[in-house]
Amino acid sequence: MSNDNVQKLKKQSPKLYFDTRSVRNNIICILIGSIGFTSVLIILSPYDKKAIICDIIEPLAATIALGLSVLVIYRQKTDGVMGKAYTFLGVGLALFLIAEIIWSYYEIVLEIENPFPSIADALWLIGYGPLLYFVFKMYRFFGASNSRTHQLFVSVAGAVLLLYLISGISQTADFTTQGRIVSFIISISYPTLDIILLIPAALIILNPMKGELTSIPWIFLAILIMSVGDCAFAYSSNVIALQKMNWVWNLFFVTSYFVTSAGLFWHNRFFIHDIKEKEDLKV
């Protein structure tokens, strides 16, 4: 073997090294550190600065997730179940990132409160489509819980939560003009789509796969966190007493982006093998 190939092999070895435990532990440490740091930053900042800090952190977290997603799509390509599912996830994350940037632009640059409904809302709602595709494809691929108890529990809990949120939003809704009706529809669209995402994600989490590569269902965990945060946000937005606490739900969104990034890093590390790399090794 030539020196070049030995060098290549040395370079390859860590990539081929199968050590999920240490990678998982490192990811968890980095994740806890990142979430802890951003949470402390948001919590300790003065109340009037919290929104701005959130508006900076959220697009940044979304950018990290999208960056890793682009890397996954680039390396994995778009063929097969995984290729398509991760491409859709990437599209969803891209739409969410643009929505986050628009939202932050209004608040930081234009220094005006975001209108409702806004362009950001449109992008967020469209972004649910690719995310739903990803979740349902993975739900079918990895096989969610077949336990009737789990299915019944998650479905009933989801339906009750949705009814509760819609009734809460309806109480403060104003149906006098067409615009306000549209606003109401958009308001209830968020929790509805969240619950639709939450049900398969919860069923997958309730059916732990226990494999070395699937010990933590990262992206489903992220979707669960995002859905819970979003539902809570939708509820608190309609309760005047809780409106001052709306910044708290941003912690959920930031956490969700970080966990998504962890999932994408994991996928990138263990689920993609560059065909070219192996060919290069051939002497």
Partner: protein
């Protein structure tokens, strides 16, 4: 099962080698296709992980169903089920297109059907095909534990229409539907005998074979079978059986095929150990368990002594 593994060890010791089975190729292709349906780079990554954790080559892993399934479960836990199911479906599709499956629709639709069941079915069909198409001059041993499997093998063995067919059995009446030229019991052939079996019993046996061969006016080979040759061992005539098998090994009558079936479930481990030279006298050995496999005589140790 314990007897089967002892027989496999015996075959190894005698340097028999398994004939290539299409089942391995079907499994390999099915796993590749199923994984690549998930994604080509994904397939590469999964195969690489599996090779790495087992320290084996891609070919070794993807032609071994248990290793593949175990590794998939280790990597993905329950999440492996979808890929494993897909492999089963693709393997079934290949088996059907290659005409290597007789599974019925309810059997195919049964969720408890495993990849191994599909592969076993392919190997069983291959063994039946081998017996059906065997050349005119072969001495084959069939090591079985199930009467159903024996029936299928004998049915294929005796399927050529023109050939004279004869069977030596403890209960010839069990085979009346086989349309045999001659079926005879040990009692009818040998009369009352006491161990140790004498030379004249072997001569009687050879004469019986020659008598059937003499009636063969067709171009096809005479097919003679013994449904359970463990009768000799169980009755203390192991030496006689060894002599007979070795004589057939040295001078197999022309245009004659002989199938010696052994119900190994009836034998004790010690009796199985004594079968080494009996098994070694056959050109081919077909073993039923763990899944049908045809073994070829690797090193002629008796015929050319």
């Amino acid at each position: 099962m314990k007897n089967s593994s002892q027989c496999l060890t015996l075959l190894d010791d005698l340097e028999y080698f398994a004939l290539d089975s299409i089942s391995e190729d079907i499994l390999y292709r099915s796993i590749k296709v199923s994984l690549e349906a998930v994604g080509k780079t994904y397939a590469k990554a999964v195969i690489d992980h599996i090779c790495h954790i087992n320290q084996l080559s891609e070919r070794e892993i993807l032609t071994n169903c248990e290793l593949f399934e175990d590794s998939m479960y280790r990597l993905f836990g329950r999440g492996a089920q979808s890929v494993i199911n897909k492999v089963k479906v693709v393997a079934l599709r290949y088996a059907l297109t290659e005409q290597k499956s007789n599974l019925t629709v309810p059997e195919i639709l049964d969720p408890s059907l495993t990849i191994n069941d599909v592969l076993k079915e392919i190997r069983s069909i291959e063994a039946l095909d081998f017996v059906h198409k065997m050349s005119s001059y072969n001495h084959i041993a069939y090591l079985y534990s199930s009467k159903v499997s024996l029936s299928k093998i004998l049915s294929e063995y005796f399927s050529p229409r023109d050939a004279p067919k004869a069977l030596l059995s403890e209960n010839p009446m069990d085979y009346v539907l086989f349309d045999l030229t001659s079926s005879i019991s040990y009692k009818e052939l040998f009369g009352p005998i006491n161990p140790p079996i004498k030379e004249d019993a072997i001569t009687k046996m050879r004469n019986w074979i020659d008598g059937i061969r003499a009636n063969n006016k067709s171009n096809t080979s005479t097919r003679i079978a013994e449904d359970d040759a463990t009768w000799w061992i169980r009755n203390g005539y192991t030496r006689g059986l060894t002599m007979l098998e070795q004589s057939l090994c040295k001078e197999l009558p022309e245009k004659t095929s002989i199938l010696c079936a052994f119900d190994i479930s009836k034998l004790k481990p010690k009796q199985l150990g004594a079968m080494k030279s009996v098994i070694g006298s056959h050109d081919y050995v077909i073993i039923e368990e763990p899944s049908h496999a045809v073994y070829k005589f690797g090193k002629p140790i008796f015929r050319y002594e």
